[in-house]
Symmetry: C2
Subunit: 289 residues, 2 copies
């Protein structure tokens, strides 16, 4: 199969490495020629260009650019595609992207391979990045079944765990486990910074250990990532924040009223529930989804 990849960073480059390994022909497009040359040099693509019209004739195109430029690039790209070409993306929000792109290309199907690393760029692309990780496919009622089938087949070839759900359900689920943690974790750092007593603030920094480090990790990550979540999944992030504030207020109220039995129950429920969320979690610091 001929596969086009637009955006040759960590995700685009890693897809290219795997698809070539699986025997597909991979054509890449990067914004800068240095990137397309690097992608050829590391065997992530068979050929690469900075021109979208070079993808004329591919069977499927993966849009692997930052979210804020996906729509503009898709608009530039589609005049060069034949109608049977499937278009997909790898963005970590789906509602906004699917709504933006579907009108421009009926054969579009949204996707979200939930893999990543803290580093970005073609230099850190690696084979097997998507193996044993979730790959969410988000068709609508109007998405052609063959497009879904093709993307499913390719994702399974990557040894990913394929999930299919609506863009809305995807965005609601990732708000809970990916976007809300960034807001919760960032607000922990922010709250500590707002301690008015400088001595307490400095001792807090000195005393902080693994508990603070882990709880603050995603909140202290790349600011652009958190901003993207808030902007492109705004309604669901706000909904999850509302649910979170209720849970926090419930706990606070129980501490205020010294309802120790209820707090013990709450903490025990959290302890019991956490394994359901981390059963399949990979090694630390390997995901940015």
């Amino acid at each position: 199969m001929k596969i086009g990849i637009v955006g040759l960073g960590l995700i685009g480059g890693s897809l290219g490495l795997d698809f070539r390994r699986l025997g597909h022909e991979v054509w890449g497009v990067a914004r800068r020629s240095a990137t397309s040359e690097a992608a050829i040099a590391c065997h992530a693509v068979d050929q690469a260009s900075t021109e979208l019209n070079s993808l004329r004739g591919v069977d499927i195109v993966f849009l692997c650019t930052p979210i804020h430029v996906i729509e503009a690039i898709a608009l530039d790209l589609v005049p060069h595609l034949s109608p049977e070409t499937v278009l997909t993306d790898v963005g970590s929000v789906k509602g906004a992207i699917v709504a933006a792109l579907s009108p421009h290309w009926p054969n579009f199907v949204g996707g979200h391979p939930m893999a990543g690393k803290s580093e970005v760029g073609i230099a850190v692309a690696e084979p097997h990045l998507f193996a044993h990780r979730a790959y969410v496919i988000t068709p609508t009622d109007h998405t052609p079944a063959p497009a879904v089938a093709l993307l499913t087949e390719l994702a399974k070839g990557l040894q990913a765990h394929v999930f299919t759900c609506s863009p809305a359900v995807h965005d609601r689920a990732v708000a809970w486990i990916s976007h809300l943690p960034v807001m919760v974790s960032g607000s922990l750092i922010q709250a500590c910074l707002q301690e008015p007593d400088a001595t307490v603030r400095q001792l807090a920094q000195q005393f902080a250990s693994s508990g603070f480090r882990d709880t603050s990790r995603v909140g202290g990550g790349h600011p652009e990532l958190g901003l993207m979540m808030a902007q492109y999944n705004r309604a669901e992030v706000l909904r999850s924040l509302q649910g979170y504030q209720q849970a926090l207020q419930q706990l606070t109220h129980r501490i205020e009223t010294e309802d120790w039995a209820a707090i013990a129950d709450l903490l025990a429920a959290n302890h019991a529930a956490r394994p359901d969320f981390i059963r399949s979690a990979p090694a630390p610091d390997t995901t940015a989804s």
Copy 2:
């Protein structure tokens, strides 16, 4: 020096291993004779007993029991001590303990070695547990200077970083970086559990990856630990929760009003500030402070 240790678990046992290595004589007391025998067998103590009166004649006693029994044990212990014996503890809250014990023993000085592991008990005691970690000493205006000097000298012998501050300042600082993270992290799990749509809830569990795992770790830990923090550091935990809720509401308001520039600034400030808290952090999962 003759050192008594009451409570031969992870902390008491590890103190014993280090103090014996440094040439001190260590006498241990455990609630159960099996524990005192295990402490002798693993060379954590020179001699051990289940009787507090066996500590007659030591120069300093470390109370290493769970917080809720410290006062009762101290009351049973002090009739056997000579007035010059220094009494200290290793509890992770200081205000409540210092207030409870000081009236019973003028030569008491509170301490908090900020080291731990996720496992507990004499079987996981290890040498050098306190090296390069904070050891907070919390005298009051009435604490005898020689008691503070003796504990400081012993803590420095463990290669710990010794900090001295009031019990109130200690409790305020650890609320921010140790107790608040447990409440914030636990409420994340709790909020996810309260998602009413079962499909979304199940997909959230399937999609959860390293971000959720790290942010939820301390909140999904031993329930007794979180309960102890809420009970014994209640006022400071509530104060930190109030500050946290303000930070979270500030972020939420900015997402509601789509004040993207302010959100970008906030996330950038968190990103910039985090290294001040994790500069000296040890390897993952080695602390329970």
